[in-house]
């Protein structure tokens, strides 16, 4: 018998504390962007924020919960249309409609989830796509929202956002910044809770988590609804920036799901850092290769396939494996004071 070794369970690492300080500084700098960035830069940054948020949410679903959706564009488009509908016909301040779109998005995720949770695994994925198609086709039938050709946000509504174009763009920029921070905090917070740890357990072994008494269905369902609501908020913001909406743009698989999947896969699926790395890589590639048009998508597809085959945990997974760094550790690490316990290998059925 060896004496019990002193150990402590901690989630934070030294690297993660440093990263935390850097993150706070970065947020401060980004919040001050109107002071140092031009209009085009701020637009690009907003777009980066929205993609980072979308990718983090998709990663929460697929990477941590095992719910692979290729239909998140349903919630992006739904949120966008809710913004247009409520701001135009409800007379509510457009920025205030963003959270409302989130609530409605979560609400619509409930019946949708109940239906498609009847499909498992890969069929779930295609089921989400069908739902997104239904949303697109339904909104294309609503003539007050422009039908198939879409509509623009009325000038009066646009003016009501803020006095002056600069201020309006600043508002939407800050809104995007707040949203992405909110989403990252949500994902991190969710994964740090008991339920979040349960999620990781689901991903690692459904049987194990079942025996731990974790209600898998309810946990997955909850995550689906939360991410649906958050995705709808991002959708509302995206179309608040675009000022124009149409069914094809709102429910585009390429824009709101393909890119998002590639970002997550390239960065590292199932890690919080992955979408961040992926977004940076994605926009760097895009800024250099965008002229190539469809070739750009083709290259992204190839890169994603290669990564999935060769390094399924993506670029970040590679970094972690190589250097053992984690910026946002969601795994509890057990730090053993003195490593002297004689490790007895677990028995395998022979």
């Amino acid at each position: 018998m060896t004496a019990p070794t002193p150990f402590e369970v901690s989630q934070a690492t030294r690297t993660s504390r440093v990263a935390g300080v850097i993150a706070i500084a970065a947020v401060a700098v980004l919040a001050a962007a109107p002071l140092w960035a031009g209009r085009a830069d701020m637009r690009l940054l907003s777009e980066i924020f929205t993609y980072l948020a979308l990718a983090s949410l998709w990663n929460l679903l697929a990477g941590f919960t095992g719910l692979v959706s290729v239909g998140q564009q349903a919630f992006v488009g739904f949120g966008g249309y809710m913004l247009f509908a409520i701001a135009t016909f409800g007379g509510i301040h457009p920025l205030a409609t963003v959270p409302i779109a989130g609530v409605l998005g979560a609400a619509v995720a409930v019946p949708v989830g109940i239906l498609i949770f009847r499909l498992s695994g890969a069929y779930f994925a295609i089921g989400t796509w069908v739902v997104a198609e239904v949303f697109r086709l339904v909104f294309a039938q609503i003539s007050t929202l422009g039908g198939g050709s879409g509509s623009s946000l009325p000038v009066a509504v646009v003016r009501s956002i803020a006095s002056g174009r600069d201020l309006r763009e600043w508002f939407t920029y800050w809104c995007a910044l707040v949203l992405v921070i909110g989403v990252l905090a949500l994902v991190y917070g969710l994964l740090s809770t008991r339920r979040g740890l349960a999620l990781t357990a689901i991903r690692d072994s459904e049987v194990a988590s079942e025996s731990l008494g974790i209600d898998i269905w309810r946990t997955k369902f909850l995550v689906y609804i939360v991410s649906g609501g958050a995705t709808a908020m991002i959708g509302a913001l995206i179309f608040l920036q675009k000022l124009r909406i149409s069914p094809d743009a709102a429910f585009s698989v390429n824009d709101w799901t393909a890119y998002v999947i590639f970002i997550t896969v390239i960065g590292g699926i199932g890690t919080i850092e992955g979408p961040i790395i992926g977004t940076i890589v994605f926009f760097m590639l895009r800024e250099t290769l965008a002229d190539l048009g469809s070739i750009y998508l083709l290259i992204l597809g190839l890169v994603a396939i290669l990564i999935m085959l060769k390094s399924p945990r993506g670029l970040w997974g590679f970094v972690v494996e190589r250097f053992g760094i984690e910026l946002f550790p969601v795994r509890r690490r057990v730090q053993v004071g003195a490593l002297q316990g004689e490790g007895k290998a677990p028995r395998e059925p022979g």
């Binding site: 692979v68 499909l119 069908v130 998508l297 597809g301 999935m308 399924p312």
Partner: protein
């Protein structure tokens, strides 16, 4: 009478959807793989037919099958051995994401080569040939051929699956790949054969699709979805059920379009969702 007509046309259209679906159903049955690029491969087959016709000059598009079927089967075999075999395992993410990536690659490659213009394979007199079934209901020769071909394809697959050594290998490998390996079945090869067979069906479906309607590089996902709906409505693992599922989707679409032209696709999806709500295991779940 126009309602009866809509239903009849929908039944015939269902044959095409069943062909979209059987390839999907086949590979899911053998290796639990859901190929998101399935629809894009159907469109690829259509473009292959187009290329063949451009080389050979005016021919009946069905004649291109002689070339398109083996080429698609070969593509399927190579895809499986070169890519999909490396994604199979307990985790469903790799096959899903790899086939999704493949879908994007195919769409954009076709876009680069053939532009976004929509194309069609013209079948001359066959396109408009029809005969009256009853007053007000004309049966098109091409749609009827499509439906009969679907029945033929399913009967053939059923035969291959339950009466041949290859089908036995498919079933054995699907049941227990490890023991199957002891029996001399190389599962990589068996899976590749299944994919090749699936792509042969895809080739037939693609050529019929191209004769029936316009297609463009972005036509694939909708075909995947129609096929998928037919599989789920029919019940997983039941090929004749899949034909019934295809008919349900087809009829829903033509009847929906009869009510309002904008509701064609929507009606198909809604019927699918209703079936999912009421009978999640499909109308004809696998009988074993």
């Amino acid at each position: 009478m126009e309602w009866i007509n809509a239903i009849v046309q929908g039944v015939l259209l269902g044959g095409l959807y069943a062909m979209f679906a059987t390839g999907l159903s086949l590979i899911f049955g053998v290796m639990r793989l859901v190929n998101i690029a399935h629809g894009d491969l159907i469109v690829l087959a259509a473009y292959l037919g187009l290329v063949v016709l451009e080389v050979t000059g005016p021919l009946n598009p069905l004649a291109t099958l002689a070339l398109v079927v083996p080429v698609m089967a070969l593509i399927g075999y190579v895809l499986q051995r070169g890519i999909f075999n490396f994604t199979l395992g307990k985790d469903i993410l790799p096959p899903l994401l790899v086939s999704f990536g493949l879908s994007i690659i195919l769409q954009n490659s076709l876009l680069e080569i053939f532009t976004a213009d929509s194309r069609r394979l013209t079948a001359g007199a066959l396109e408009v040939a029809s005969f009256p079934m009853v007053e007000g209901v004309d049966i098109g020769v091409l749609p009827l051929m499509m439906f009969l071909t679907a029945m033929g394809v399913i009967a053939l697959l059923q035969f291959v699956f339950y009466r041949t050594a290859m089908g036995r290998a498919f079933r054995a490998t699907s049941d227990d790949p490890e023991v199957a390996r002891m029996m001399g079945l190389n599962n990589r090869h068996v899976f590749a054969l299944a994919m090749a067979l699936s792509m042969a069906v895809v080739a037939v479906a693609g050529i019929f699709l191209a004769m029936r309607t316009n297609f463009d590089p972005a036509s694939g996902p909708a075909r995947l979805i129609f096929g998928f709906e037919a599989v789920i409505i029919g019940g997983l693992g039941n090929l004749w059920g899949t034909l019934a599922g295809g008919v349900v989707v087809g009829v829903a679409q033509t009847v929906g379009a009869q009510i309002n032209p904008g509701w064609q696709q929507l009606a198909g999806h809604v019927v699918f969702l209703i079936v999912l709500a009421v009978r999640p295991r499909g109308l004809f779940p696998r009988i074993l």
